[in-house]
């Protein structure tokens, strides 16, 4: 099967790649662009470890084909920090010990960032339901939710 040429923007950079039409966006990010921050935990859109945003919308990159990324604006965990300056969520996750093994962390961070952009003042229940698509097997979510709620409070105060 011949490969297709895709031009897209990832974390603000223009990139191009050739992909098999069966390859997912996640495969392309990882195997063609060396952006391995997004992880494959399930391949069926159930675990959220591959979360990225496409034109600002939160998606599981394992459920989208690489060819569908053509002309889109993709953001991954690698683009979350501003140079050396970590995003407040990243900082707070470290401070709160909101990760143990860290495999779900990129997806959780991308999803939490999307939440706070949409709703800067979520209730605990809203945060829990928004992040229900991001499985974490280590933490029981306690410290993750606390980190997200506290970041939201800090960001509201700062703005």
């Amino acid at each position: 099967m011949s490969k297709l040429h895709v031009s897209t923007t990832v974390n603000g950079d223009s990139v191009e790649f050739l992909c098999d039409p069966r390859e997912t966006l996640l495969d392309c990010l990882r195997d063609k662009l060396n952006l391995t921050g997004a992880k494959e935990g399930c391949g069926t859109g159930d675990c959220g470890a591959c979360s990225v945003t496409v034109d600002g919308r939160l998606v599981c990159s394992c459920l989208m084909l690489g060819v569908e990324a053509d002309g889109k604006d993709i953001a991954t965990v690698e683009g979350m920090a501003d140079g050396e300056e970590l995003h407040p969520l990243q900082q707070k996750f470290i401070e709160y010990a909101a990760l143990q093994c860290g495999i779900c962390t990129p997806g959780v961070l991308v999803a939490a960032k999307a939440l706070l952009e949409k709703n800067p003042n979520p209730t605990e229940e809203e945060a829990r339901y928004w992040l229900a698509g991001n499985l974490c097997r280590c933490t029981g979510y306690d410290k993750i939710i606390r980190a997200v709620m506290d970041t939201a409070a800090d960001m509201r105060e700062a703005s």
Partner: protein
Amino acid sequence: MALDDQKSVFKFVGTRPDRPDGLDKVTGRAKFGADAYAAGMLHGAILRSPHAHARIVKIDASKAEAHPDVKAVVTRADFSDKVEFKPGLAGEFWNVLENVMAGEKALYDGHAVAAVAATSALAARDALKLIEVEYEVLPHVTDVDKAMVADAPVIREGASDYSVPEGLHPNVVRYHESGHGDVEAGFGEADLVIEDSFTTEATHQGYIEPHACLASLGGDGKGELWCTTQGHWIAQKTCAALLGIETAQLRVTASEIGGGFGGKTTVFIEPVALALSRKANRPVKIVMSRSEVFRATGPTSSASMDIKIGMKKDGTITAAEGIFRLQGGAFPGAPGDMTAMCAFAPYDLTNVRQVGYDVMANRPKQAAYRAPGAPMGAFAVESVLDELCNQLGLDPLDVRLKNAAHDGSKASYGPTYDQIGLVKTLEEAKAHPHYSAPLKPGQGRGISCGFWFNHGGETSVSLALSGDGSAQLMVGTPDIGGSRASMALMAAEVLGIPYENIRVTVADTATLGYNDVSHGSRVTYASGLATIKAAKHAVEKLCERAATKWGIPVDAVKWEDGCAVPSGPNAGDFDPLPLADITANMGATGGPISGHFEATPEGAGVSFGTHIVDAEVDPETGKTAITRYTVIQDAGKAIHPAYVEGQYQGGAAQGIGWALNEEYIYGEDGRLQNSIFLDYRIPVASDLPMIDTVIVEVPNPGHPFGVRGVGETGIVPPLAAIANAVSNAAGVRMRDLPMSPPRILAALKSGDG
């Protein structure tokens, strides 16, 4: 029996600094199993049996081999023929080999039968369809009780070891019996005896990172393996045996590990990738799909249990007996012995008897899962205790306190307990506001105690000082949950230099001596102990350099707050000599300064916890909501309390999943029906409340700082505590896990679980 004068006042230990690998893990920089690539790399894929039990008549790979994208195909013939079969666990390498690549028979749905390496992941997947396997389907059995009856299909003749009494089915491969006193006499003294039966289904460890590896093995027998594992030395040893190469010729590097919980203590794809690489003469990467993870790795055992406990009206337990039958897949290893030994361990019993069976069935080889074997037994025992309390009108916490094991109690598994913290956890539970908080209608409260042994294991640590006074610490236990932070804290405590000045690396198998797996809650205990000893070793050398410089005997120098100082007024009058001042000149004063420690620390210290749970059952749907959860557990000494809390919370959350949702569902055809996360539902954020924690600290005499392992005990009480809460909320005793909505509805309807 302290190893040292135990330290109890700390500068660094007990604080909560940022973890050293935090930045890598929040930016996507950390490299996990699937994140490695090599020049010329091929992708491997594994063909798996669709049958639960079948003779492999013929494998024809000629079409796959002829395909231009395919560079190698392997079957069992490509592995060592020197690996010896032995009964029970004595031949564990053979068991692992048989599991990673089937021999004469496919033993479960998902069992590997062949593998290919091709130029892309898609090409490899496509090539699997070109391999033709002829099977002769055999009768199968997946249920533990059915696997033990006379006409059950035999999985493998000769797998039973010495322990199995005459007359049992060949699928019973190990047998354990222990206890003390006279249980029959004890039951005679009881005012109430309850006898009941319980089952738990197999659950998967559910780590979010599937198994992944990148392997390279040349014709010269030298190899490199990168993999996600809890223990790269055991991976090295096992792979070398299965491939028939020398252990030292295979260098294994542990990637960052995306969860293990016991499931990554053995190998699955690693020997296959090495065999493919040897045949193709190119690096081969294999990454499992989630479905492969469910079908062919883990899970824990399923269990069927009978419990009998006698109690006096005042709550005194007079006798306890348990029969525990654990199904561990098509291989020996189900931890029926551990279940038996742990089940009654929280209690000081005069009369106790426990029997454990290890039973084979046509399911994937069970793997360790957090306190392997203990949660099931606790579920059954603590459910009966709860029922005794209900029927005798006694407070369940008071009854547990009355019977609790304490220092000097004879453990149900034999020995006398040293210093233990169970009573303290029960007292903390009783004093906790959760225990006296009012319940709403429809809610129930449950409690349970839990026990786990903890483990020490072979350990080797090196610490090297740099000229500028910073330190590199090399440990051999993969960092699953923040152990770099706890290691750095312990090293800082001994060296007296800032936590931030210590860089902790998980060394590969070529750069450090043998290290046992990150399991048995051993990392903070054993690697921690070795880190402390290695740092002390370096401090001895630092003191020697200061002594030489000052021209005084080395025993006149002591180490204080990161400096060499004279040990007393008679030693002389010298200004404190900071570590960095000594290391700055170390090359010219005797050479580099390093500290080492290698040993098998034996003093892990057993651990206990008590959990309190409130559950609310919806009578319309049968759905259970956990409304409040409190974990109280003895940590000995919490090195980094935030990560100790994290272990408690994670154990509770996994227990909630096991209790309420998670189960392996097999069809009549013996195939696993729920091999994706949509159908095998682990707890999500919206399922859970905040999980409160109380860290009890009863120091472990076997560790210089008093550490006990904390990783595993936290999953022991939840199944029972939740079952007790649900049973109290629903008014019916729940005897089978998971307590899924249909099962609860059925119990409500029949008025009896």
